[in-house]
Amino acid sequence: MDFTTETCTQLFQALAIRMAAERDALCALDGLIGDADHGIAMEQGMQAAAAAVATLPTLQDQFNAAAKAFLNAVGASSGPLYATALMRAAKTAGPRAAMPRAETPGLIIAMAEGIAHRGKAEPGQKTMIDAWYPAAEAAKSGASWPDIVAAAQAGADGTAQMQATLGRAARLGARSLGHKDPGAVSACVIIEECAKILG
């Protein structure tokens, strides 16, 4: 069965529900090395995105609408990063009402590229890229959805051993060690929900 505009609406609804459930845990994680608002930003952004995608005719329209809604609801750093990611996903999905499921890992690749471009980040800097990059690499190698998720999770787990060199936590130096990056953890949540619905 193809990935359709209807499935896309379900995907963003699932993301909004999941981020609401993870909100406080993400905020607590962010409080250890940042400013404790990451869960709120992700919840608000995904809620706005979910409200924006319903009843649009193509996947491209849906991802672009999600990008704009996420950005305007959130600002912060996750706003521009996920807006760029979703606009790249829109380009990959194209102006069609459905795409074959076999092509959907390409959305992960596109989103990872958008985030890296906007944030000027590289793997190893303790950011969301440490989950997105390995997931995209797995997708490029033709891995299954469960393996893409596993790659993202291993990447997010690995951030606990990293010293932040980019973003707000970079000012902590060695004090950022021992805590997972909240942006990498929420990236895993997104990739998990994608796998559930697209896989």
């Binding site: 905020c27 750093s77 521009p80 707000r168």
Partner: protein, 332 residues
Amino acid sequence: MAPTQKLINDGNRAVDEMLVGVLAAHPNHLTLAAPRAIVAKHGPRPGKVALVIGGGSGHEPTFLGFVGKGLADAVAVGNVFASPPPQPAVDAALATHGGAGVLFMYGNYAGDVMNFDMASEMLEMEGIEARTVLTTDDIASSSDRLKRRGVAGNVFIFKCAGAAADLMLPLAEVERIARNANARTYTMGVALSACSLPQTRRLNFDLPAGEMEIGMGIHGEPGIRRGPLKSANDVADEIMDAILMEMAAPAGSKVAVLMNSLGSTPLMELYILYARVAERLGQAGLTVHSALVGPYCTSMEMAGASITLMHLDDELTKMLDHPCDCAMFRVG
């Protein structure tokens, strides 16, 4: 843990409900140009560089309190502790620009930089020149000036840039003065207790009784180190040692001082700290040109204080003394 006690209605609506109150309280100073874009009623005019400031909410009176004639022309308002998205910054600039360009000024945080850069790109497409000066006054946040955060020193830095714009100087001059103001401003603070976001009402970090965090940021970002809570004089000395060493001002120099509360630390404690600050400045042979004492750049209900020194030159002195009339700040 029980939720923190706040006088709010709905945590998710806290910023928007605050803005309703601000506009209702200050109708002679402020008006709404677009959602989350507040502009000065008097100030913006043809031929004048538009100074647009912005950042997350929760630092009041920073940023919106510094919008008014002689200071900022407009502010883009973000969620609590979160950069505003590009749209309010664009709307604020479009509502106030006088054909002489736009200067964006905000604290140096990754999110603000991405959102305001997008706003600059959007303005460029409209044919409006926008430049940016980041504030980087928090000396505890990095040894590299360019990587530092912008904190309470914003007040002095925005003030000088706003005066330059009000004097009808061209964009390049306003930018030069803003950069000079930032380069000569130094801030460091300590936190004694956490704050909590209205959406979660949970303390955003854990600071055990009897301890303080030295160098903490205005969003509760951890600082340089934790240590036992010390006396006002010892805290003032530690901060002044760090600032004076870095500022390296020769005896006879003039400074402006901001003794800032992070939220719940009262004026009594600020003035106890200030007494020691004044004593140390006297010992160093520095003259206080002007002093501000109070909550100017807060972190909601966080307890703690920061000290800012601006090392004045003749031009910055003139800019600091230039009249301004904002909803929450006046000079002259």
